[in-house]
């Protein structure tokens, strides 16, 4: 187990394409950090640089306080779980688990006990002698995890390990990964483009965009106080409503909004913080365009005069409203997030 220190890391590909623009990130011992962002944001590149599969153009990466820039992946004492699992197709599950240990000259008895333990932990004992192609997607995923676990490395690196699974299995495995990581307390870096996965797994969330870090923090912190418009739009589903300040002022009067920081021209509100009915905060009048019942909750698409884009609101259960109804919508004061369009950042 170890900390991972990333200092001033840049990645420039041949042809002067910059994938990573200088990243500083300290990952603590035993921490599970999730790198999340849209495709092309540099999250996988950063992970692969930690693994040693991509060269580092500038800056340093240290694992357990030792700079590893010029070390081969095998010399970094990390284990990786790949999106397509990358199981060796011609080897049995057992041989897949053993391969990394054998290459390191681990004694036979030690190999056997580690494989047995990992197999028990992941409940893959019945398949140990099978070939990967005889396994289901979920079972392969477990084997890929097992291959990382038996190594007892300083860090686990996960590269979108659940995106090849169907939704139900993904949910199960997410819980399982979380549980395993808590139990093993191995420093982990986890890459995903799925914000829900990121939120539920992370000790700390690193939101990336365009080769830069947008925000680092606990998932709830990031959710409750997104540092930029990008994070506000990326984390949370349905995404945050963004209302132009001018439009809001026209509705509720400019007097009440005057002590906002300068530069503020957009106000964000999470769909689940909006409420119907009168009370504290601003009240707008909206027409219900569409109601999407999602099961336990309902998504309302509302049209408000003066505001071009429809507002989305999440209500518990099945509200007694029909399409076309006119409702008062309340935005609680503590649910408002001020942003600046020019800088793309939060202003308070």
């Amino acid at each position: 187990m170890a900390s991972i220190d990333i200092k001033g890391v840049k990645k420039v590909y041949q042809g002067n394409v910059t994938a990573i623009h200088g990243i500083d990130l300290a990952i603590g011992d035993g921490e599970l950090v999730v790198l999340v962002g849209p495709s092309g944001c540099g999250k996988s590149t950063l992970l692969r640089m930690i693994a040693g599969l991509e060269t580092i153009t500038e800056g340093t990466i240290a694992i357990d306080s030792a700079v590893v820039n010029s070390r081969e992946p095998a010399e970094r004492d990390i284990a990786m779980v790949f999106q397509n699992y990358a199981l060796y197709p011609h080897m049995s599950v057992r041989q897949n688990l053993e391969y990394g240990l054998k290459n390191r000259g681990t004694p036979r008895a030690e190999i056997d006990s580690r494989v047995a333990e990992a197999a028990r932990m992941l409940e893959i004992e019945p398949f140990l002698e099978r070939k990967p192609r005889q396994l289901s997607g979920g079972q392969r995923q477990r084997v890929a995890m097992g291959r990382a676990i038996v190594r007892q490395p300083k860090a686990f690196l996960f590269d979108e390990p659940l995106s090849n699974l169907d939704a139900k299995l993904r949910g199960q495995m997410r819980v399982e990964i979380r549980r395993l990581q808590h139990r093993l307390k191995t420093t982990s870096v986890y890459v995903t483009h799925d914000q829900l996965e990121a939120m539920t797994l992370a000790d700390r969330l690193v939101v990336m965009n365009g080769g830069r870090i947008e925000q680092v923090g606990k998932p709830t912190e990031v959710y409750d106080r997104p540092a930029s418009l990008f994070v506000a739009g990326f984390i949370g589903s349905p995404p945050m409503n963004l209302i132009p300040l001018e439009a809001l002022k026209n509705i509720v009067g400019s007097a009440v909004l005057k002590d906002l920081p300068t530069e503020t021209d957009l106000i964000g509100v999470r769909p689940d913080r909006m409420q119907t009915g009168e009370g504290e905060g601003f009240v707008l009048t909206g027409t219900v365009d569409l109601i999407e019942p999602v099961g336990g909750e309902s998504h309302l698409y509302l049209h408000v005069e003066e505001i071009a884009a429809p507002l989305v609101m999440v209500m518990p259960g099945r509200p007694d409203l029909s399409e076309g109804a006119v409702v008062p919508i309340r935005l609680p004061l503590d649910a408002l997030h001020p942003f600046s369009t020019r800088t793309g950042l939060r202003t308070d």
């Binding site: 692969r48 599969l53 991509e54 081969e72």
Partner: protein
């Protein structure tokens, strides 16, 4: 020219890995080819003691030599005849096998094995059959008043090597036509049938056009085969005779150079053939790129 996304750190190892292949290529392919080009521009004195540069002389002489021009013509006749006969025959057989379900693989086996017969053995087999004194076919032809003697009759000698070369190539063409036919979607055939096209019409309007990439590919391969791989057939049946009637370009390189020791002319002939293979290879590879999309 792609590699993997990540590569192993390169030091000396990759050079060691390509070294055997490259050494053999350089020593036994590139260097001799270069020598052929060089000596095609040179003449040796009668004692082989010195050589001098003579420019295009060998080439000019070749193209004014009736024997060489005749050899080009003969090779063209031979190559086209073999390609058309063996491809036509193979296509008929492939279409027939493709209609079958249960017995298809048994027929395939019975049609594929001649691929494993070497050209020289194919030549011996057909020579035995057409041998003017003991062969079974001349005996049969005699009954219908045709005198067969390919040792005297140049046309008959040409027919003999065409038959032998076509016979051997049928398996190869059959295999690729069958693969091509099997990749024609069955739904197209069914759609055409619903549109009222009978089996013959369906073949010519639907299946055959879709086979055109395969046909073109096979045509190139067959030209290559008849030009270069039929040395054994010619050597075992006619030896280029009678009176040069079956002296194809490749066989002529061998007789002029290895037997006749006319180095300059043989080298010039080699270079001309190389140019031809290069052209065929370029056409084939351009076409393969399209085939990938198809």
């Amino acid at each position: 020219m792609d590699t993997k996304r990540t590569v192993f750190p390169a030091r000396g190892l990759p050079y060691l890995l390509v070294a055997p292949q490259l050494l053999i290529t350089l020593i036994f392919f590139i260097w001799p080819a270069g020598q052929a080009v060089k000596s095609s521009f040179e003449a040796e004195d009668p004692f082989g003691l010195s050589t001098r540069f003579v420019g295009m002389q060998h080439y000019l002489r070749l193209f004014s030599e009736p024997a060489y021009l005749a050899s080009i013509g003969r090779t063209a006749v031979f190559a086209l005849a073999v390609s058309i006969i063996s491809m036509g025959f193979a296509l008929i057989l492939a279409v027939a096998v493709n209609r079958l379900v249960r017995s298809a693989s048994a027929y395939s086996t019975l049609l594929l094995w001649p691929y494993a017969v070497s050209p020289v053995v194919a030549g011996i087999l057909w020579w035995f059959i057409f041998n003017s004194t003991t062969g079974i076919l001349p005996f049969a032809l005699e009954q219908i008043r045709i005198r067969w003697n390919h040792q005297l009759n140049g046309t008959q000698a040409m027919i003999l090597i065409i038959i032998a070369a076509s016979w051997k190539q049928v398996s190869y063409n059959f295999l690729f036509f069958l693969a091509g036919l099997q990749s024609v979607p069955q739904s197209l055939n069914e759609a055409a049938a619903i549109d009222g096209a009978g089996p013959v019409k369906r073949f010519w309007t639907i299946v055959f056009p879709l086979l055109s990439p395969t046909t073109f590919f096979l045509l190139i391969v067959n030209l290559n085969y008849t030009m270069f791989d039929t040395f054994g057939i010619v050597d075992a049946t006619t030896g280029g005779g009678p009176n040069q009637a079956t002296n194809t370009l490749v066989y002529k390189v061998y007789t002029d150079g290895y037997i006749g020791l006319n180095l300059g002319s043989s080298s010039a002939q080699s270079v001309i053939l190389m140019a031809f293979v290069i052209a065929l290879t370029v056409i084939q590879f351009r076409y393969v790129e399209r085939r990938v999309q198809y």
